[in-house]
Symmetry: C3
Subunit: 108 residues, 3 copies
């Protein structure tokens, strides 16, 4: 049994869940925030058999797209600087996927 933890962009969640539901995967969705851009994103938990990890990963790859995000680097401004820094472009990837081994799984 594996637990797939995937951090994805909010804009891709609807289509990703539709695909996973259609393939009969069960998913638990958590509202999360990116630590760098401080923007809302989504963390999905998908418990699957290990043979299904590849399909779930493919579904995530197909539905989740990298996007450019324009940000004003407020987080890196020092207290002494008083100018408005030019916005910078940050690429936010489609998904960050962690696959963890599950020692035991139960539905009660």
């Amino acid at each position: 049994m594996r637990l797939v933890i995937a951090v994805v962009q909010d804009q891709d969640v609807h289509r990703l869940l539709a695909q996973l539901n259609e393939k009969r995967y069960s998913v638990t969705k958590l509202a999360s925030t990116g630590g760098f851009l401080r923007q809302g994103n989504t963390t999905l938990l998908v418990g699957v058999e290990k043979e299904q990890v590849a399909e779930v990963t493919d579904i995530i790859k197909e539905t989740c797209k990298a996007r450019e995000q324009l940000v004003t680097p407020l987080a890196t401004m020092s207290r002494t600087s008083s100018y408005m820094p030019a916005p910078i472009e940050v690429t936010v990837g489609g998904a960050t996927i962690f696959v963890l081994d599950v020692e035991s799984f139960a539905k009660v």
Copy 2:
């Protein structure tokens, strides 16, 4: 050390936490959403010694009940259909439990 990740129904959280607190277990609670029914539920993180996994699982089994949920399958309506589908009954289990091995645990 094990990390128990349990997805449970909101209605059972109060009683489950009371039981876990009484037995001196520490729990972290996350608000989550079921990917299929799109309804709020709760994801609990319970870090325990491996000998305690059985007791925690029993507590979850005793306090978390399966329930019937009546849903109108909005998620499966195609864009061309314009009728109101009959509500269907979905059984939502008491809990979905993942037990993961923890490589190292620290409280600082």
Copy 3:
């Protein structure tokens, strides 16, 4: 690859994220609640190489402080008692850290 799951106090999040960002670590932040005190706290997910676990743990230790929390033990009042119990002091630790092994990691 390791996944560091750290439950920390809200007051320490800003400084902790600043330190992790500066060291180029990526973090995903989840709003959580302590199961005992029922107060908001934060659960951070930090995916790192195993050689980086020590540095991330040190950063957490340096930025996250234990605090005394005064609580009125409402959760332990029985239905028959009608007195106002004296508030008790509970020490809330700086951080509770779980390090999990990641079987596979991908950014797509």
